[in-house]
Symmetry: C2
Subunit: 565 residues, 2 copies
Amino acid sequence: MSQPTQPHLTDLGLPPALADGALRVVALGGLGEIGRNMAVLEHAGRLLVIDCGVLFPEDHQPGVDLILPDFDYIADRLDDIEAIVLTHGHEDHIGAVPYLLRLRRDIPLVGSQLTLAFVEAKLREHRIAPLTLAVKEGQTEQLGPFECEFVAVNHSIPDALAVAVRTGAGTVLHTGDFKMDQLPLDGRITDLRAFARLGEAGVDLFMVDSTNAEVPGFTSHEREIGPVLDAVFAAATRRIVVASFASHVHRVQQVLDAAAAHDRRVALVGRSMVRNMTIAADLGYLTVPDGILVDAKAIGDLPDDQVVLMCTGSQGEPMAALSRIANQDHRISVGPGDTVILASSLIPGNENAVYRVINGLTRLGARVVHGGNAKVHVSGHASAGELLYCYNVLRPRNVMPVHGEVRHLVANAALAVQTGVPAENVVLAEDGVVVDLVDGRARVVGAVPCGYVYVDGSSVGAITDAELKDRRILGEEGFISIFVVVDSTSGKVLAGPHIQARGFAEDDAVFEDILPQITTTLEEAAHGGGADTHQLQQVVRRVVGRWVNTRLRRRPMIMPVVVEA
Amino acid sequence: MSQPTQPHLTDLGLPPALADGALRVVALGGLGEIGRNMAVLEHAGRLLVIDCGVLFPEDHQPGVDLILPDFDYIADRLDDIEAIVLTHGHEDHIGAVPYLLRLRRDIPLVGSQLTLAFVEAKLREHRIAPLTLAVKEGQTEQLGPFECEFVAVNHSIPDALAVAVRTGAGTVLHTGDFKMDQLPLDGRITDLRAFARLGEAGVDLFMVDSTNAEVPGFTSHEREIGPVLDAVFAAATRRIVVASFASHVHRVQQVLDAAAAHDRRVALVGRSMVRNMTIAADLGYLTVPDGILVDAKAIGDLPDDQVVLMCTGSQGEPMAALSRIANQDHRISVGPGDTVILASSLIPGNENAVYRVINGLTRLGARVVHGGNAKVHVSGHASAGELLYCYNVLRPRNVMPVHGEVRHLVANAALAVQTGVPAENVVLAEDGVVVDLVDGRARVVGAVPCGYVYVDGSSVGAITDAELKDRRILGEEGFISIFVVVDSTSGKVLAGPHIQARGFAEDDAVFEDILPQITTTLEEAAHGGGADTHQLQQVVRRVVGRWVNTRLRRRPMIMPVVVEA
């Protein structure tokens, strides 16, 4: 099997100007990672953004709250943006919208009713009232030079859309995130008939979700979870706690239905869970059986065997309800005989946190049901088998796998090639790689700088990778600071050395050894009068660094301050 | 199903004195975690230690190299220790032996030939020459009041042993780590016939590996991997790199055999891989086909399709060969058309690191075969189905699940109860919990303090949990240090404030705002002359802390130093 050749970012220069009548595609996030999805299409001098999401940090990015797509590429072309099309309401597709709208508030947001409701709720927290255009599957809207047709797709949130973008250069079909559940709870399937029609008319570039491309076969039906929940509910004799994602309307629907069937009331726990489910119920995406919801504060009044708590924290997030319940740091308590269900996937990287929660709940006496011991979750993404259907129905001229780490993009590319797409028409790109569609052929023509933009507290983009490296050193080794005042004329030490260490794990007494040596070396260096404070600081750093390294075999950060008085 | 009640450590006081003729069991590690396995048996005033391993840190324990069992409980009874029985040669069973022998060098080590060879190699690095007693399956040794019979068990390292300990108080059977592969590569099965004989004679306490107790069914045969390796080797057209654990002799054997079948030579890469496989080959546990091994430095002389590199780093360890190859930071390079096989489990918590390596290798053009897309690993531990066999053959009077997190111990306890062991005879204990076997009944009688002992560089036990909390704050938020010299009489600021920040991610200019306020507030506080430097430092901390929190919404560590001159 021939494999598409992977472009190497380092080999790519800046792209040439876009040829007249051609279409350019640049992903500013989502290619090489699961998250911060954002694609920019350019045609006839205008831009169309598809999705604008956030990425959650890994443990080598300590203290980072969120990671944004890099807006640099479009920063001086904001006025060229026709609209932001939002395929669905997950954070990795809408989470960065407030940060882009801060740069230009009146960019129209285009999406389905539920998607817009979720993003508007988020924007209210940022005090932004956006321009919006609600669309439905089957609808076509002309957005500048981009004719956008919206297509229903099935995903782990209702009301998700794919978008077909027709331009003078050809037609792009972008799937957003999707799967092909043939028996979805809401009956809204991925519209394969529309895919077939688009394929007949000709799809020039197919941008397709790669998340599950490595997974052989087919993704299970969401409705397979119902009977499992039912069995767990039937066996439960005391409280039931279910944790899932705060946006998973269908999962919550199944929990409400199971609760109704077993004469239990449900309390929603967690701010995002309450907010999203209120929106979903108001808009008719969630059917709430009469009288089933109860305020979380009132559950103490109900017998344990009539209670279900529906909460967040299924990924072990330390501040979410479930972790705090497991740590006995929440007004809701769990004890012997209670049942806890983790009805969500285990996102790679969260294993330790999730198992800590499971162990904590188990220690309290609860029975914990999770993906490791029961089928209480199905994926929201198309597996290899479903992707093959799409390729065969669409027969796209060019393919660009999106939404995935490199391994996912490469696996998806291989599927395209297996169905007969010529390898040279399968574009493997990473963030910032520029792909031009010219004369019906998609080709990598260069790359633009595209970095990670870190959000920490109120700062956006201030944290650099160098700063994160400092944090990793501080976190692993701690630091030693040394403060000395020297006489500017004699070079004599007037005060200090004062040593402070944190995260360094030695008794302060350990430093007694080194104090005289710092003073001696410093006074020797200062004696001639030729050394400035910066040089004296280097002297201190060297003395302390060598001592720590040989004596304790450690490499903490060393921060000398020499002040002349 | 009745579930054994979990003892709560916090509810347990110190244990009473051990009754005459009774047997006491205290685990100092391995109960509530996967690693640092160590059990102490006491009878007739003497102690027997079973295993003495290390635990590897998680990401909430930054900068920690290793975690040891807590030796405090036996620190003043070292002379009472008859021996350390080592069940097999994995780090989580032998890794802490050097630290215990530092406290008393002449404690005899008892174990199989390969186990002792591995521990002796490790002790040489610590410059310790131990007393050893090599034993074989079937052999019985009297170690003080403990009559120890050794029983063959099958595991992911050769020459593993269970140990039956007969005392005046009854017989304990400790499995070590084991599985029940019925067709092992070396023909050495877990000796179920011996288990049956011991069961007939009566096992009073069964201490049994819980690692896979949550996994339903049976663990696959090691030999199922051979055909998969063979198929991957057959399809490979260029270099093959295989990564696995440096102690997995049978896995390496299968790689050597596949290489021989496909006319390839094998280079061992990585210090621990070379050391362990040299030992295993010398002792006859690894059969090396003639002329198949080649020095890693010589592989450049061979055509790519005749090369296999057998290396470490299958867990994404940043300093191991495979990570460095993926980062192009190793003299061995991987490129388009090469095949990389990760022939090992993915230990929970390592997902991000392993996927980073897989993505790096994929980006370089390699085909990566791993547990997610091929059967290139089987577990080394007995699953629920095998554990049921053991319970039914042994019919133990009391059961104490060992080696696992709480969820594993609880699952294993449930299996025991299902086979008919009375729930009140199934002891769920955590580290430090004291279990006494009196009159044939095992009961929790108390607990001794048992903490985590962290190794960092040359320091053992100096790092506390408070220190780790400091590290986490430093790692996530960075720090700001402020140095000021004030006149001891007038309270005027003579030098400073000097502000230094690291991991804090703001331009130094941001501090210009706050400098005057520090000076003013400090001089006001110092003016009366009643404030000492500690109080002045608190003033500085408050001013800077409030400003950082409101202005930047961050909480870095703040380290003020005020010096009077």
